[in-house]
């Protein structure tokens, strides 16, 4: 077992066949490790039973942080630390604070969300991609099934993959995942 996991890798040419295939394979009682695609496939997250990403909530929270930081900074500088009347405006010229508050909200929301996305998806310049099939970044969809995590034996899964539209089935071993 310390040799890592054995995977069966199904190759698909067409995204619509793939979507039907995912359904068929899951209905056949096989757990899919992950599906890899060269482009975003509509409806694949529903087919695989993934929950909607909560990154939009992260963006909202980072945005709130940006709003409060911006207001704290501006009120701290212009109202608390060195109050001055400029152009006949109040010590607390809230309308003047809106543009910078808006910009910092957007800045923190965008950077916070993208940063979270990179961290949770393990995307970093020194990360090495683990590809089940090199053609996945070109034109093939790749379905990986972890044999150790399924009750069905290799032969049965192989048959299920082929009957669900996979054009090729290969075996691949990964030391760690």
């Amino acid at each position: 077992m310390s040799q890592g996991s054995d995977f069966l890798v199904g190759i698909y040419d067409d995204e619509d066949v793939l979507l039907k295939g995912i359904k068929g394979i899951r209905d056949g009682g096989v757990k899919i490790h992950e599906v890899y695609s060269p482009f975003p496939v509509h409806g694949i997250d529903d087919a695989l039973g993934y929950r909607r990403s909560r990154l939009s909530i992260a963006a909202f929270l980072f945005g709130l942080l940006g709003t409060s930081l911006a207001l704290t900074m501006q009120i701290g500088m212009m109202t608390v630390d060195w109050p001055m009347i400029i152009g006949g405006k109040d010590y607390l010229p809230l309308p003047s604070f809106i543009p910078v508050t808006f910009e910092l909200t957007v800045l923190l929301a965008a950077f916070g969300m993208v940063g979270t996305f990179l961290v949770i998806s393990n995307l970093k310049p020194w990360a090495k991609a683990k590809l089940f099939d090199i053609r996945v970044t070109d034109d093939k969809h790749v379905m990986a099934i972890d044999l150790s995590k399924n009750d069905l034996d290799e032969k049965a899964i192989n048959k299920l993959l082929v009957s669900n539209g996979a054009t090729e089935v290969n075996k691949k071993n990964f030391d760690e995942l």
Binding site: P38, I86, F102, E103, V106, A109, A110, M113, S121, V142
Partner: protein
Amino acid sequence: MTPESVIRQPLVTNGKTVHDVTEDICKRVEEKPAPLWLLSLAVALGLLAVGGYTVAITLWEGIGMWGLNKTVGWAWDITNFVWWVGIGHAGTLISAILLLFRQRWRMSINRAAEAMTIFAVICALLFPILHMGRPWIGAIWALPLPNTYGSLWVNFNSPLLWDVFAITTYFSVSLVFWYIGLIPDFATIRDRATNKISKAIYGALSFGWDGAAKTWSRYETVALVLAGLATPLVLSVHTIVSFDFATSVIPGWHTTIFPPYFVAGAIFSGFAMVLTLLIITRKVFKLEDYITIQHLEMMNIVIIITGSIVGIAYITELFMAWYSGVEAEQYAFLNRATGPYWWAYWSMMTCNVISPQLFWFRKIRTNIAATFILSIIVNIGMWFERFVIIVTSLHRDFIPSSWGMFYPTLYDVGLYTFTFGLFFTLFFLFAKFFPVINMAEVKSIVKSTGEKIEK
């Protein structure tokens, strides 16, 4: 299976398959640089060198080298700044607003347009920085840091400071948006790379992308939320640039119409520049199947709409000047049209209001040569618009004894040349070493909007 709609024309022509998309785009990155590309890069580097000399002299001697005087204290520098920032609006507009509207024709043009945005904003940033005279000190004054005389802070009532925040936010968010889109395409190039160096470089650039469904699902959420954030951002940037003028007391600047008028003008000039660049790029890189006449026509339609908005804004300005009954305001506009800068005003009117109306004719808006020429005319017109707003409003000061004129020096011209050199150097490098078309997005529409009908 039939294509989704028989009425709509295909966005990718000539029956391209998913694999063809990879081949066509990656080939440009992998093959040896073409002689035409090397020549173009050499010209751009030449402009950069000539302009670089004037930048060096400006930094050494100070901005007295420019043609500014006591009356006209802002001229080519701010004109060029606003012009470049305006051009930098199309990229994010295409990728953000058109994404929210689910306009799929954006997919083959968004990459190049976003690159153009980023390079244009870099060029724009140079002008206010150089106008500081001693940017190594001035750049610190623009940041919210306490100065050396006590904790006197920057003034958050000033639109110039808002601009600092707006432009830097816009630049960095656009850069992130662009980069996130590039990651899957860098992975494609990485997996095709045959030599070690490009494998290492594109490997690092692609952040270990493997195309997992989970990551794609998150990626799509990120793209959608970024589009939602970038849409008000792109509108806010030129709004704030227009505040630089609108919050002043100068007749001709002090108008409430400025924000929408500037935003429309920015989109107008941005699309014109996208057209200029893409017409060349599709020709040089043979991308006619991805950037079709239909794409050009769509952009031309945006140009008619925004050009007409700009035209209405010009006329509204004139009407408001008359209707307000403010003599100074009336004089400012009369002087624009009939004063010593009448030629600039009428160049602006001809290039921005009259010439884009030619696009009402289908024959003209689907003609590549006509589109190319008109796109350049629009950009000339938009430069004159900013020149007219800035210089003609300033040169007739409040007291006739301080009236003056502005004459650019070689250094004004040199600085503008420098930004052209910088812009085209960056764009040519991008076009050669980066995927010029968003492969992943285009692949996702090949089946539904390609010409090939699946059995």
